[in-house]
Symmetry: C2
Subunit: 376 residues, 2 copies
């Protein structure tokens, strides 16, 4: 095995990002050894992945799932144990929401390279995660299209940034009225016009909470004040974000909407490798359009921006309340517009505290999860 | 005077690029000492510039003009002498066409930093200029919006380029029929929809010869095979060019169409300085559109691409024939479509030779200038 083979572990291997990460691995079989796979409940797919990639380390959330795994010589670990395992060089973190936080911190302390897909980690605990990453000299490599675009535009441009402009497809409901939004079903909301993603992030895209998370995430990832980060609706999802510099020049990163590109970019950074990902045909696309986001119709974006500005434990409460509300919506127990309503009520009831430890984050998270839906 | 003051000379100070360069100097008065100004025949403006910037070195094309200059302690030099003068660190080359070639080579041999606006230099003699620049370790900094865009997109990305995509506004005549094109007057052709430029380059934009020149220029500047350089019509002139990488990712550089930005970028490279140049408002712009160029309606583009592919002395003949034909058009002696016709006929009559010395370039140039308009 050569020096340029990366020993990879994927937390969330059966999810959308996990599966697409394994597609990238299939395209470059000589550059990776899959050391670890971690999944939640999809034992069938995990079993297939184990048979194909032969990982040494396995993590599985459900106890019953563990029993249904094929008997093998794999070592069964917790997410935290896998994240800090000495045989892992590069860790993809793509489990949903809060579950990603503790493994990310373990990986940082073990000085791993961390390809981070779960934006909630930085929304909940950006200050802690980034200061720990600096302290331990661990590299955080974003694997989502917007932060990857910014990261690419900042290459060779350490100084002189004046503004980040995050693009948003706007999701499937940009042109619905508020009355129509109230009637939206989970199935409609899961039908994203340009991106193939997991359920939680697809709903967050439809409410635009996702874009608010990305603003907070970009603030921490790129050390840019939140007031210098803007959001722009771009329905085609071709320009993945912009960086403006102090001289007035703007750089953009574009591609066909395909998550494998930011995954590949992060896994090989700083190398760019020849891929067979679809090429962009700008003549065929014809027009790239831009409009301002409608904060009244999509209040989740404004809620997120406000929580980010206030800081403290507000973003952790935002993230927790959203996670619960999205679950309630997917279960058909609340309407689409109730997601913003529940998150707003929870934030209004919250007394923020400074947020310098994982315990403080988890306390706020637990408070919010209990509180969602209870009138103050 | 601090270490970060650049001693600047401008060849073509009364032209469009020259004047806009001096606007940049006015915005950063403590960063430049204007050492030299060179002009053609606009003595009135040159006199004003001398009074404002107090250069030590002057060059003026017309003998009668020299006598009309205010008596001063300035030293009168040729373009070549100014280009290689020991008191000049940074040279802006913005004289039109062939006149820029010899001074560029002198500046290279004197190891100056060269901010090059005159694309004909690289069209006529790209191989010679670039190999001399490498040999003498002289830096060539492009100051036109498209090559500057590519240069900015390549920052921090030395490897892995798969394609350059140069944008073209298409000029004022994209949607005219061939019959209408035949009737175009010089005044109509000089009225460019998005850019404020000199006469020669404005006519070259209207015929799209300019974009062909830029393809050849980009090939030499960035060491990219010509077949990997494409042209895309983008009427808004907001995206100044694109670079595609081997992984399928594309970077673009955007700004309001204002030549002071690429000038400032070149003059301060690699620094980006805070400027008061207009900021881009993408919501106000709304849509960026793209279409394929029409090579039949704009044959100059195809003529340039073909001359570039064939190499040898063809590009020098292309440039010379175009310079004469544009002059004839501006004088009202030929029609708009005759520009392409004359250039084509001249190229067809030419016997190319390898092109390794300035003399060979100048011989081909002289041949073409005599030949334009003479049937073979």
């Amino acid at each position: 095995m050569g020096d340029n083979v990366k020993r990879l572990a994927i937390l969330g291997s059966t999810g959308s990002i996990g599966q697409q990460t394994l597609e990238v691995v299939r395209s470059f079989p000589h550059r990776f050894q899959v050391m670890g796979l971690a999944a939640g409940t999809n034992i069938e797919l995990l079993t297939k992945q184990i048979n194909e990639f032969g990982p040494k380390l396995i993590s599985i959330e459900s106890a019953s799932g563990r029993e249904r795994l094929p008997s093998s010589t794999c070592e069964l670990l917790s997410l935290e144990e896998m994240a800090s395992h000495p045989d892992v060089d590069l860790l993809v973190i793509a489990v949903t929401g809060k579950a990603a936080l503790a493994p990310t911190l373990e990986a940082i302390r073990a000085k791993k390279s961390i390809a981070l897909a779960t934006k909630e980690v930085l929304v909940m605990a950006g200050e802690i995660v980034i200061s720990e990453a600096k302290r331990h000299n661990a590299q955080i490599l974003p694997i989502d299209s917007e932060p990857s675009a910014i990261w690419q535009c900042l290459r060779g441009e350490e100084r002189g940034v004046s503004r980040l402009i995050l693009t948003a497809s706007g999701g499937p409901f940009q042109h619905l009225t508020s009355e129509q939004l109230a009637q939206v079903t989970p199935q409609q909301a899961l039908n994203h016009p340009t991106w193939k993603m997991g359920k939680k992030v697809t709903i967050d895209s439809a409410t635009m909470m996702n874009k608010g998370f990305e603003v907070i995430e970009a603030h921490w990832l790129f050390d840019i004040p939140q007031e210098k980060i803007e959001v722009l609706i771009h329905p085609q999802s071709i320009v993945h974000s912009f960086v403006e510099f102090v001289d007035g020049s703007i750089k953009a990163q574009l591609s066909s909407p395909d998550m494998r590109l930011p995954i590949q970019y992060a896994l090989f950074y700083p190398e760019r490798l020849l891929s067979d990902l679809p090429r962009l045909d700008l003549v065929k696309i014809g027009a790239l359009t831009f409009e301002a986001p409608d904060l009244e119709k999509f209040p989740c974006l404004e809620l997120a921006l406000e929580a980010g500005r206030k800081g403290g434990t507000y973003p952790a409460v935002l993230s927790a309340a959203d996670e619960v509300a999205v679950e309630l919506f997917l279960e058909g127990r609340i309407g689409f517009l109730d997601i913003a309503k529940l998150v707003k009520e929870t934030l209004e009831q919250h007394q923020s505290t400074p947020c310098h430890s994982l315990e403080e984050v988890l306390t706020a998270d637990a408070w919010a999860r209990e509180r969602v839906g209870i009138q103050g």
